[in-house]
Symmetry: C2
Subunit: 116 residues, 2 copies
């Protein structure tokens, strides 16, 4: 059993092409003995975004706080906000943007453990 508050989890700047003003935390992963999945948390500052990309595994997201846009495969921007769940399927193009001028966009991003 592991219990950890998000504010106790180390935060890293995302140093990845196409990402701006984005931070990552990894509260639960295979390092903790998780058998199947990992939970990361991304914090996107106002003006920031994650890469517009795809990969062969899914994302299972929950928006903890803030407001943003999810850019889909047609480059359509779909509003997301606190309380939303999102499933991005394997190989689907996607990007998260913060659309607030003041508040960070904070969301859980679950992936199969092999990918984090």
């Amino acid at each position: 059993m592991k219990i950890i508050s998000l504010d106790q989890v180390e935060k890293f700047k995302v140093d990845m092409a196409g990402a701006e003003k984005t931070w990552k935390q990894i509260p639960l992963s295979q390092k903790d003995g998780a058998p199947v999945y990992s939970y990361r948390v991304f914090t996107v500052e106002p003006g920031g975004f994650t890469p517009y990309h795809h990969h062969p595994y899914e994302h299972m997201n929950y928006i903890i706080s803030g407001e943003g846009a999810l850019v889909d495969k047609n480059k359509k921007e779909i509003a997301v906000k606190q309380g939303d769940f999102v499933l991005v399927l394997p190989d689907e193009m996607h990007q998260y943007k913060n659309t607030s001028e003041k508040e960070p966009l904070v969301f859980i991003c679950g992936v199969p453990k092999a990918f984090e």
Copy 2:
């Protein structure tokens, strides 16, 4: 891609021995094409609790709101609150209780898709 707000997800009373005043939602699962994992959300009303039990798969939890206790294998009660992540390992005894007199305890409970 699926985007759904938690308040749009159907809520079922948990009808399971050992559970009281507990409701379940399933925002993301294999029915949506999730390849690996399912996300459920449990809402435990004041005075309510989930069963004290174990099973051969893990829970990956995030406390969305409220305050509660996680009962461990030694029947020790560990306080949990909004913002906490919890990994309950396969076969570990566990139970969630709401310890607030006023607020619901609401948490994400991820499991491998075969179990939901």
